[in-house]
């Protein structure tokens, strides 16, 4: 499904100082796997996720999704690939404040071509029902709690029926009860749809939700 081969990512902090966030990583994520990547802050797990998504270009090595080498594609092709095959759940509030809940969920459909003949709002309504927010379709993000916002983000991640969901610390801003609800939701979605999930967290207790777990430290998989 996702394959990283000898991937290294080095950031230039200044002209002289370079920081290597990910070093010589080899990782394969199989279809329908629920992979949990743990590690302390600065261990390189978010960079690894961004590399897998094609959001960051590796300094060296290759990243592929399915059979496609992501960095062999043009910007437009990469965007279409992300739009159709990957769903994102971010650590920070990532809903557009000027759009309603249903507009936020339907938004990724407007960037792609696969579902042009389908009503995006019908699909968005189904997903909002799935995440338990069918009564909030017309609300704005500011009117929702942090947990509800993250549920909307999960619904948005599913709107284009992706092959993989990449979740970066999706529960880091939530209380324990809400964290459990969100992780249960990920578990249910994985069980029902068989979508591949790669979830990054610094909370080692969450590895129980995955089908496989790996740990990162200093940019290397342990």
């Amino acid at each position: 499904m996702i394959a990283l081969r000898d991937v290294t990512k080095t950031y230039m902090v200044s002209k002289e100082i370079a920081v290597t966030a990910v070093r010589d990583v080899n990782l394969t994520v199989d279809k329908s796997e629920f992979l949990v990547i743990t590690g302390r802050s600065g261990s390189g797990k978010t960079t690894l996720l961004n590399l897998a998504a094609g959001l960051v270009k590796p300094t060296s090595g290759a990243v592929s999704l399915g059979e496609v080498n992501i960095w062999g594609l043009s910007d437009k092709e990469q965007s279409l690939l992300r739009n159709s095959k990957i769903g994102f759940v971010f650590q920070f509030p990532s809903l557009l404040p000027s759009l309603t809940v249903i507009e936020n969920v339907a938004l990724p459909r407007s960037f792609g071509t696969n579902h042009r003949n389908q009503d995006p709002y019908e699909r968005a309504t189904q997903l909002l029902t799935l995440v338990g927010l069918s009564d909030k379709v017309s609300a704005y993000p500011r009117q929702l709690s942090a947990g509800q916002q993250q549920r909307v983000v999960i619904a948005r991640a599913l709107v284009n029926e992706p092959e993989v969901i990449l979740a970066d610390e999706p529960t880091s801003n939530l209380d324990e009860q809400t964290e459990r609800e969100i992780m249960d939701l990920f578990h249910d979605i994985h069980a029902k749809t068989g979508v591949t999930i790669v979830l990054v967290t610094h909370t080692s207790q969450l590895v129980a939700y995955g089908t496989r777990a790996i740990q990162m430290a200093n940019g290397v998989i342990q």
Partner: protein, 397 residues
């Protein structure tokens, strides 16, 4: 959700930023169009007036050129005289095709015998005239008869009356000329015979009689033969005819042309400064907005928006604000110039002709395009920068 809708939502969601850009577009478009309307109105007015006069050279008494120009331009009556024998001397100059005399007269101010106060009257000789007569034949089908007149666009019969009364003489207004925006619009044209009849009647019926000195004329309109050198003829007139000033058509209203040029430069300078300041402000606002929205744009990129789509969305936002702002600015400019045209004419002491509807629509279209292109260009650099940003870097901000 289309990019257009996303841009609309962003405009609604940031009312202060949108308001400032809207206001900048309003000022740029409004000021541009008012400047163009005033300057073009003055230029069109001068051009039409020259066409209306139809003369290649106007010969006036020496030292009276400025007063005659002011009379023709602003409708301020003047009376000036030179010997009638000048006419034959001028007509005999080489290259002159026709020479026609005119009398400059004025009605009395606030007198019971005149229904129009201080009206500038131009009497022409139908036998030699080449400017008014062709128009009369075309529009009325006949020459002006005794007791008849034709007025500029702003000459009317007083309300409740059927004719105009001048020096106690009842004169019929047979029609009005097309507007020029100049003093000619407030001028009454009549024949020599009618003018002399008014003078005769006025001795018994007017508060003060109309005086037309014997064997005197006010000006001579000169038409050159095709290909003849008007400048040479003007020099010949100066040498042959004593105490006159020949004004060549291109030199006519020269002082006003200079005034218009000066005004044009001043207004263009103000417009230029406003335009630059507005565009810098719009560019800064969009830079700030792009920085504020880096994370949001990073999210959009991650969700599958291409760089081009991001650029289009940001530029659509700028274009929509520019369109709205400039439409309001243009409407205000047209209303202001239209409603206060008399004030503009008085305060700038310049003629003014409001453009025809097709010309106005062209100017409005041009104004909208200029404002939209300017604002979109001002937003282009910040929008381009943020659209090129690495999505992961943008989201980390």
């Amino acid at each position: 959700m289309s990019l257009f809708r996303l841009a609309t939502k962003n405009i609604e969601g940031s009312s202060f930023r949108s308001g400032v850009v809207f206001l900048c577009a309003l000022v740029v478009a409004g000021l541009s169009l008012s400047t163009v309307l005033v300057i073009r109105g003055a230029q069109d007015s001068l051009r039409l007036a020259l066409e209306r006069l139809g003369a290649d050279i106007i010969v006036v008494p020496e030292g009276e050129a400025s007063r005659v120009e002011t009379a023709l331009l602003m409708g301020k009556p003047t009376q000036t005289w030179m010997p009638q024998e000048n006419l034959s001397k001028i007509a005999s100059i080489s290259g002159v095709a026709a020479a026609s005399p005119q009398l400059f007269l004025a009605s009395l101010s606030n007198a019971s015998c005149c229904s129009a106060s201080e009206l500038f009257m131009v009497a022409f000789d139908p036998k030699t005239d080449f400017a008014i007569e062709p128009w009369l034949r075309q529009r009325l089908g006949h020459e002006l008869r005794l007791g008849e007149s034709v007025g500029g666009n702003l000459v009317f019969v007083p309300e409740g009356e059927e004719n105009i009364k001048l020096y106690g003489y009842i004169i019929s207004l047979k029609g009005n000329l097309e507007p020029t925006g100049m003093g000619l619009d407030q001028t009454l044209f009549l024949t020599f015979d009618t003018a002399r009849d008014i003078a005769r009647i006025s001795k018994t019926r007017a508060v003060k009689p109309l005086e037309i000195p014997d064997n005197k004329i006010s000006a001579v309109m000169v038409k050159m033969q095709p290909g003849a050198d008007a400048h040479k003829a003007a020099l010949d007139i100066m040498q042959t005819v004593p105490n006159v000033t020949p004004i060549e058509s291109p030199q006519l209203f020269q002082a006003y042309r200079k005034q218009i040029t000066g005004l044009l430069r001043g207004m263009m300078a103000v417009l230029g400064i406003t335009l630059v300041l507005s565009l810098v402000m719009i560019s800064l606002i969009f830079s700030m907005a792009a920085n504020e929205r880096r994370r949001e744009i990073g999210v959009l990129r991650a969700l599958g928006a291409t760089r081009v789509a991001i650029l289009q969305s940001l530029l659509s936002e700028a274009a929509m604000l520019a369109l709205g702002g400039s439409a309001v600015g243009i409407a205000l400019a047209v209303m202001t110039v239209g409603l206060f045209r008399n004030l503009i004419v008085r305060s700038l002491e310049m003629p003014f002709l409001f453009p025809s509807l097709p010309a106005l629509l062209t100017l409005i279209g041009g104004g909208l395009i200029v404002a939209m292109v300017s604002v979109t260009l001002a937003a282009l650099l910040p929008a381009y920068r943020v659209s090129r940003q690495d999505p992961a870097v943008a989201m980390r901000e």
